[in-house]
Subunit: 137 residues, 2 copies
DNA sequence: CTTGACCTTAGTGTGTACTCTAAGGTTTAT
DNA sequence: ATAAACCTTAGAGTACACACTAAGGTCAAG
């Protein structure tokens, strides 16, 4: 399968596929005589692995690690894989916590403000950001 | 106040201050004869506004908008300010939702895996990512 | 045999928020 | 007078995941 067909089957761009190849995530097994990339069913499976891993939040660097484990499963333990997963989950949890604080603060600000058409001279959002911190602590 | 002292009072780097100046977030009112930046109390207040806005999740671009409103409050309405705040809050909410899906999927994966020292040949995390999607839909 | 749709590479641009470097000028203390 | 500690600028580098461009080669249809 040439890169264009492969890309459209997977719903990604050809740029993305070349990018993944450059970053050693997916290198098609074969090239045609003309130098065209020729993707196989195995490549399709690997690309689907990559896309699923992306869907659960892994970065490309992390997916690369997962692939290296997948290629030599017997040289790696379940422990290692679970660790990667849990580390990522905790990192995501941290980011959620941060964003939740943002969301809370923004809600407080928004609720304070009337939102009317009058000039912003006394806007509570601006004055809260100007004055001593009433948002944190 | 020279940039070094100003920076350490605020807990930011001098690089950050020069970066903010370049991006029109804070331009110190005065330069000394030697060309050194000379920060005033007004600059301090503005920088604290910026840091508070950052603390509630606004990006530098959004803070720049807020500052422009703040400088000419009577030319802008509460509505405008509240809109910015609510837009940001909704954007944050969307990102939280996405990360929450990631967290959920990662938890499911982690819970499936024994995490033991045995080789990863049958690791449920890897097989789940390989096989037809059991995570979404 | 030519047109159009595909493919190739290498390299640059995007957005975010800085951080670091090089090469040099200024100030302060000793 | 000189060393240390500060300051200046312009520009490059970082991370992430691509998107886009230029300049050219290949292939199938009409």
């Amino acid at each position: 399968m040439k890169i264009g067909e492969f890309a459209s089957q997977l719903g990604v761009s050809t740029d993305t596929l070349r990018y993944y190849e450059k970053h050693a995530l997916l290198t098609p097994s074969v090239r045609t005589q003309a130098g065209y990339r020729d993707y196989s069913q195995t490549d399709l499976k690997q690309m689907m692995f990559i896309l699923r891993a992306k869907n659960v939040g892994f970065s490309l660097a992390e997916i690369k690690e997962l692939l290296q484990i997948k290629f030599k499963k017997h040289q790696h333990s379940c422990h290692e894989v679970k660790n990667l997963t849990i580390q990522k989950r905790d990192l995501v949890a941290g980011r959620i916590a941060e964003l939740t604080r943002f969301h809370q603060s923004l809600s407080v600000l928004a609720d304070k403000c009337c939102g009317g058409q009058e000039p912003a001279d006394n806007c509570s959002i601006l004055t809260t950001l100007e004055d001593i911190d009433g948002l944190n602590q």
